[in-house]
């Protein structure tokens, strides 16, 4: 009982945290004013938390709270887009492979295995600088600068394989269920069977998996930004940490600048985990 209550409390807290982050991501300007840059910076460089700047300032005098709230938007947008892309790719790939079976399935799964073996971060680290330079387009796409859109795509195409595996095995088992046979007997097309009978039964699996994909996307985005592949004009939490590192704030003891964005990441990740009530999910491989 106690355990359950605690779990309940944990989930409530998690939901509250995520709610707050979503609000921050949706209306950052209403909360802390427009994103500060060096021109509009309001404080002295690297000053510790004070009444005027609750979480201190960065190396050019920007308010860390202002940056953190605005970065929530970028971090969450990138994670959301990237995980949507990854889920869409993974689901499509998994459903087709599982539904087609046979040689197609075997071939497709070899491709998925290839991506599963190559870790998303290493691949993304290699692809991102390349793609950033190719996507030299100007302006913004869906509110993100081209650099970040590239990050979205890179994360998307490097992290779908796990989803494809899971969806495929579920599709395989669904396909052998009686209702699929019945649908086929009455002459339903493949497309119809997939849309009407298979996909609806995959939804809960997909939703559960999406949360984990979002977490993975946040991690990869953070790590990529931290090694300098973020966009300085649309900072994410990882970009903030990159600049904190560049400005030497860890050695200088400027804890407010380091702690704040990192703590935001931990809060979001742990909350997402609590909601999916899972730790790192054991994606067991079939040893066929």
């Amino acid at each position: 009982m106690i355990c359950l209550m605690e779990l309940g409390l944990g989930r409530i807290i998690a939901a509250l945290v995520l709610g707050a982050v979503i609000v921050a991501a949706l209306v950052p300007t209403a909360l802390v004013g427009p994103l500060e840059n060096i021109v509009t910076a309001t404080g002295a460089p690297m000053s510790p938390p004070s009444a005027a700047h609750w979480l201190g300032t960065d190396e050019v005098g920007r308010d860390v709270l202002n940056l953190t709230v605005h970065s929530a938007r970028i971090t969450m947008l990138v994670a959301l887009f990237a995980s949507s892309l990854s889920m869409a790719l993974g689901t499509a790939f998994g459903v087709i492979a599982g539904y087609a079976r046979g040689t197609t399935d075997a071939l497709m799964m070899r491709v998925a295995d290839f991506f599963l073996v190559l870790p998303a971060f290493v691949l993304a680290l290699v692809l991102a600088p390349l793609a950033i330079e190719m996507g030299g387009a100007q302006g913004t796409i869906m509110g993100l600068r081209p650099t970040l859109m590239v990050t979205v795509i890179v994360i998307g195409i490097t992290s779908w394989a796990g989803t494809a595996r899971i969806v495929r095995s579920q599709t395989l088992s669904l396909r052998s269920r009686p209702f699929v046979d019945r649908a086929r007997v009455i002459g339903a097309s493949h497309g119809r069977i997939i849309c009407r009978h298979i996909l609806p039964n995959l939804i809960s699996l997909i939703v559960a998996n999406t949360i984990l994909t979002i977490v993975a996307a946040i991690w990869i985005e953070t790590a990529l930004s931290f090694v300098g592949l973020g966009d300085p004009f649309q900072p994410s939490w990882g970009t903030m940490l990159f600049y904190a590192q560049q400005a030497g704030s860890a050695g200088a003891g400027a804890w407010w600048y380091v702690v704040t964005p990192g703590f935001a990441i931990v809060l979001v990740v742990v909350s997402l985990y609590s909601l999916s009530h899972a730790g790192p999910v054991a994606r067991r491989r079939k040893t066929t």
Partner: protein, 320 residues
């Protein structure tokens, strides 16, 4: 048969990765030959052309450059670094190997021993104080970006307490006296602790879940019913069976370890492969990046191969 098939598939994967590496890096925009010269005075178009020819950059991409690339790889020749003119890629990468192996290896051993122990205890006595504290801390450690943990440790133990130096190995000469080894060890504490803590979190969570699952099985209940001591049941019946999923997960985990190592080396300026990766990426040193990419990818493939073989050994059902 099983072994052969696994081996063949690993070799195929490595070949595909090599090919992928070639095309990815050739597609990079920017002129490598201009990076070769840097901003040396008096570049003329003729000189640029000479450099292109010298570095084989004017041959057709496919098949000429590709074939010579595959042949060179087979000979273990990764070409020359762009950033460090005249130095072979192996010459650049070689000295960075040991620090990373030392760093990642030590952290892994610590994390595995500590993590698996805590995890099995926590899973065996669900809801105990150890479980609650252990699992929450583990989740937090797992949830935070590894490099951020490193920055926090730096602030506390280097900036505030001044117990440890900020840097990694960079300023230690290779000498054999004890004092210097001690110096190296002292410098390694923070970086290794960072990676170890982050990894411990993951092992705790994985082991806990595995133990919880196994302890629901009938034979465990039977063993307990027979009156065998709780610790003995854990040791003799539960842990061996929980090992199986853990092996697989550890192998899948190599990528995560690598990502952690790359970013943590950046934080501590630890002169290993991870820092080199970031430096090469920033300088767009394609040959070095390409070699690192291959090294990482191959080590992951090998780790998976080892895991498969281990799995087969531990679970005879697999090798049909």
């Amino acid at each position: 048969m099983f072994l052969l098939r696994k081996l063949a598939s690993a070799i195929l994967t490595i070949f595909v990765i090599s090919a992928l590496g070639f095309f990815i890096f050739r597609a990079m925009p920017g002129d490598p030959e201009r990076m070769l010269i840097g901003a040396a005075q008096g570049i003329t178009p003729e000189l640029l052309a000479q450099i292109r020819a010298r570095w084989g950059l004017d041959a057709p991409l496919f098949p000429d450059q590709f074939l010579s690339y595959i042949l060179s790889l087979a000979r273990g020749d990764f070409g020359y670094s762009f950033k460090f003119r005249g130095e072979t890629v192996l010459g650049v990468i070689g000295p960075r190997m040991m620090p990373t192996l030392l760093f990642v290896g030590t952290a892994q051993v610590i994390a595995m021993v500590v993590g698996l122990w805590i995890g099995s205890r926590a899973g065996w006595r669900q809801g105990s104080i150890l479980d609650r504290f252990g699992s929450s801390l583990a989740l937090a450690a797992y949830g935070m970006p590894t490099f951020w943990l490193g920055m926090l440790l730096l602030i506390v133990f280097a900036a505030w307490l001044s117990w440890f130096p900020v840097t990694g190995l960079a300023n230690i000469e290779q000498t054999n006296n004890f004092q210097q080894w001690l110096g190296i060890a002292w410098r390694s504490v923070l970086p290794i602790a960072t990676l170890a803590i982050a990894q411990t979190g993951q092992y705790v969570l994985l082991m806990r879940a595995a133990v919880v699952e196994v302890s629901k099985e009938d034979f465990v209940t039977t063993a307990r019913a027979k009156g065998i001591g709780s610790n003995a049941v854990l040791r003799r019946h539960v842990t061996p069976n929980a090992r199986l999923p853990i092996v697989t997960l550890i192998s899948l985990n190599v990528g995560f370890i690598l990502a952690g190592a790359i970013t943590v080396e950046t934080v501590f300026s630890w002169p290993g492969l991870g820092l080199l990766t970031v430096e090469a990426m920033r300088a767009r040193d394609y040959p070095v990046m390409q070699a690192l990419f291959l090294i990482f990818a191959v080590s992951i493939v090998l780790a998976n191969l080892v895991a498969d073989l281990l799995y087969a050994r531990l679970d005879p059902r697999v090798s049909r």
